[in-house]
Amino acid sequence: AAAEFSRMRLSGVEPNHVTFVTLLSGCADSNISFGASIHGYARKLCFDTSNVMVGTALVAMYAKRGLVDVARLVFDDIKEKNSVSWNTMIDGYMRNGKVRDAVEVFDEMPERDAVSWTALIGGFVKRRRFEEALEWFREMQVSSVEPDYVTVIAVLAACADLGTVGLGLWMNRFIMNRKFKDNVKISNSLIDMYSRCGCIEFARQVFERMPNRTLVSWNSIIVGFAVNGHAEEALKFFNLMQREGFKPDGVSFTGALTACSHAGLVEEGLLLFENMKRVHGIRHRIEHYGCIVDLYSRAGRLEDALNVIEYMPMKPNEVVLGSLLAACRTHGDITLAERLMKYLSDLDPGGDSNYVLLANMYAAVGKWDGAGKVRKTMKALGIQKTPGFSSIEIDCNIHEFVAGDKSHVDKNCIYSMLELLSSELKASGYVPGNTLYEND
């Protein structure tokens, strides 16, 4: 495109605004310096300030390349901004993590349309600030701007992550009354949301009611079943998918392998793993190796799991090793755990969870000096334990708790319920274990 443009210039044809917009959007993906020179040229023609489309394209380009401050300068110079320019600016700020600026621009905007709201909400979702995303969605409802399917997908993603199935169900009903109710991407999002809220049956219903499905739909339902512990269903759908002519990809295999590991189907899992490359020609990625390590670990075959780690073509990451470490906990193999730990601390020096795991393993067998040592090491290295928190959704409100939390309004009822529970636990023969920390 750049070459073409040069030729055009040489031949003396004056570029118009369409030329610039096209060029700039090309530059956003590749060549920023060329983009800047185009900017300079456009400036000469005053296109950037007088033509809103060119200006907006410039904003988009700079924002995409991370130069959000430059984008802002261009944006401020645009004489007559339209809603697209505003939206692009919001998106630009969000894209670069400047949430406050984005909200500021949003507030300054003369008129907000669905896209503006979506840019803001989607931005929050992408920055993993889900609760704020939902708050803004509520604002959007209040200001009675009709959400479009992109908004809906962003909100569903937030629901999925927060596990707010109450709001998720509301969204589902909301969607049913909209013309985009059969949008495949929305259905996929619904499946994902339901399965990540643990309502796998609803996910299945959505899946079954879909008129058309994509690979993503299949992957979502397979992974959904697998992580929810319905190994048989996951594998059934994995087979069904191929019978319906879909070629499984890496994600499908992750789901199927997870299912195998869940059901303890070691041989089947290994076969799948092999076929993946041999029959389907899909390269094994580290998460697939992770599945196999998990598969072996679960079956108590720690040695085989080690072998996999040793022979896999890439360097193991802390997640794969952590998974084996967790297996050591389950099978009570402290010696192996201690050794693994040495390497893990090199690989992931700041990661607290593995230290905590080891400390809890020591505690479980009553090796208090060992546990103490781990604790000291953590202190020496300045590693803070990530505080554990749990949340529950009641009537579409999320209530969050940390250990020993006394801040909830109903704390008296909560604590007396806990006490009743613990006395009933003891009555049914439960013996509290020796867990030091909230995670392991």
Partner: protein
Amino acid sequence: QITDVKLTSISDLRTLCREGKVKEAIELMDKEGVKADADCFCALFELCGKLKSLENAKRVHDFFLQSTWRGDLQLINKVIEMHGKCASMTDARRVFDHMADRSIDSWNLMINGYADNGLGDDGLQLFEQMREQGLKPDSRTFLALFSACGSADAVEEAFIHFDSMKTEYGISPELEHYLGILGVFGMCGHLNEAEEYIAKLPFEPTAVVWDALRDYARIHGDVDREDRAEELMVSLDPSKAVSNKIPTPPPKKRTAISMLDGKNRIIEYINPTLYKDDEKLKALAAMKDSGYVPDTRYVLHDIDQEAKEQALLYHSERLAIAYGLISTPARTPLRIIKNLRVCGDCHNAIKIMSKIVGRELIVRDNKRFHHFKDGKCSCGDYW
């Protein structure tokens, strides 16, 4: 012109009162400054009482205090009744204490209010004051009084008052009063005594009497008495027959009427302790008896105070579950999201909890899902 507007407004207000739209009526008085008349106030007091909404009750009361009707004894009594129905005897009492003069109804309503709100003792005390002031209770006062006795578990006092009603005040008891005494027995759970009281009534018990006994038997879960009372009630008033009633299964235990004391020789034939499959149960029972006490000292050895609190009971997932339990109906599943992996001890505890509380507990941690149900977890104890 102005009076015209006013007239429309008051008729609007009347319409709202008639239609039971309390909120709208309050709005109208608040925003438009429409003044309610006696009928409107009367209707509003009744509506607020029926809806048990203290907030509205207080607002309507405020308008009333600003109105020209504020000295109307009948209406003030209505206010007392309204507050009582809204379960605020404190407010009712304040109104009562402020009254320049009180009718016997004021006292009756107060005592009744205390009784209905489970504050029978306060009702009884108020009655004492009434007597101290030399007021003469009427027939309805005693009904209220019996109701207060029932609410305060005061069976003996009810009879003292019943006697004084005849001897001191010359009021001869009517059916309602007998029902009142029956209610004292019934509310206090003295069902046997209630039935014997019925047998001693100076008149043939009517269907209403048996109906009352049946209701009390239902409240206290005495199925046999309930059935008996119902049968007697229906025999007197066939129109009260309950269709498609589930027949009660026969009781297994009838020692009270069997006359075969000491003839039960089943012991010679059974020996429940010498069965092999009982060993497990016995072990469990033994453990229950010993009353397991967790030894926190050794769990907490070598760890600091912060960890101490977390160690056994108050992990965040347990707090979230406890809150979920008290906020939702029985047997509905709970979904908990946790940012870290669920710890082994909690995993174990939640498994058993799911059985104890009879719910599916779904925990999503940063690794995987755990569907706890009936004491088992979908992860198969590997996580």
